[in-house]
Symmetry: C2
Subunit: 250 residues, 2 copies
């Protein structure tokens, strides 16, 4: 499994991915799921992938090859971010369609993506691209998008993330969300990759790789745990006399 | 969907359930998923249910009828908690087997249960009973068990729950876990039922029903949110110069 999240705030965008891949519990490896496509100070794209690893790699390879061969549509010449998302979605669908699993095989070839970036002169945008090739865009009301094993890390995002959060705060919230997920689910694991992209910079952004026993990650984890314990101890006591209505008959 | 959790600590056990049931998004109702079986100061059992509502209700009805008719095996005469769990599991499987869904119908009739209690002279125990009728028991290493929509509320339990926690703290942790789940998933909803059972009491315990706008629940939610924000602001800043190794070639 995988856990990736993209967060879009006023200051820019945060991308985060874990690096664990598994095909059964006895076949676990580390692969980066974060792919950057910088474009000469005129544009910058980041892609996060979840799902079948062969499909994800095929999509990334194809995006690079299209750039190299200067294909009719590629990430250097698309005019709109939505066109770029559409293009990535189409490639995802194409690459999935190239493989025919045996009948009665429950192998899933599908992959989904978080894709975001900026093209000079236009506002940045963040998308979730489905295996079918269609996509949704992060909005003011829902500034973050997740793929993979997303439920464990959702509550903290729901409570904290707003558009006005600083880029650094959004990144730390993403790390807490990832740490909760790693703790609760063995199929998500380090290293954690983090990318902080400043809106308007059109550069590749600040890329950070945190290994399992990274000093900062350990200090973040310890600070969060001790604050949570404190938060927990400060919660109001249960009411002494709360109505205990029986909700069922019989 | 549903979210129920049972927590076993040295002081006793906490049971918690939401009350939302749904068959599609346009058929939402409230039903209690917490069922108590007190037994004359000699024993006390609590059952939480998730899954098909008709099956859950059939199981509860059957448990009550077996008590009334003084059946060969019932919750008043079983000698061991494990025998009680086995009995509940068998009834669950029986009741599910009575209904034959149409072919090609993806209707699921299965139900799972959290079941716990105490019989005089024996230590309390907590079980998760599967639709197949088999069951697992909470342990020292894993003092809590969940059924239903369990992922959202798992991280906080993983971080806080230990056997040495007080009953009241375990109950407040369960409430935070439930609040996170309700916030992130529309198929889980109030009223929240909470039961605090003191080990050795053999009574029915302290039963609390919290409606959506219950004053205590609102204050708990507000305290938790403001503490989380503070915890979040106190997290160590991202390191200024963290190695940014590229994890992929190409």
């Amino acid at each position: 499994m995988t856990y990736c999240v993209g967060i879009s705030v006023d200051q820019g965008m945060v991308f985060m991915s874990d690096s664990r891949t598994n095909a059964g519990v006895d076949q676990i490896s580390s692969f980066s799921k974060m792919h950057q496509f910088p474009g000469d100070g005129e544009r910058s794209f980041t892609l996060l992938s979840a799902g079948n690893l062969a499909t994800s790699q095929a999509v990334v390879t194809r995006l690079h090859r299209d750039l190299e061969s200067d294909a009719t549509i590629n990430l250097r010449n698309v005019k709109h971010l939505s066109a770029a998302a559409e293009y990535v979605g189409r490639i995802g669908r194409d690459e999935t369609g190239k493989v025919k699993p045996k009948e009665d095989d429950d192998l899933s070839l599908s992959a989904s993506f978080i894709f975001g970036g900026e093209i000079a002169g236009r506002p940045p945008a963040l998308f979730l691209i489905y295996p079918e090739g269609n996509y949704i865009r992060a909005s003011y009301q829902t500034p973050y998008l997740q793929i993979g094993e997303l439920k464990y890390g959702k509550p903290i995002l729901d409570r904290i993330i707003t558009r006005s959060l600083s880029l650094e705060d959004a990144a730390r919230c993403a790390l807490v969300s990832m740490d909760s997920t790693i703790r609760s689910n063995a199929s998500v694991g380090p290293p954690i990759e983090l990318l902080l992209y400043d809106a308007g910079s059109l550069k590749s952004g600040r890329h950070i790789v945190l290994e399992e026993f990274n000093e900062y990650l350990i200090s973040l984890r310890a600070a969060w745990e001790s604050s949570l314990r404190k938060a927990f101890n400060d919660l109001p006591r249960l009411p002494a006399h709360e109505p205990s209505v029986r909700l069922v008959d019989g």
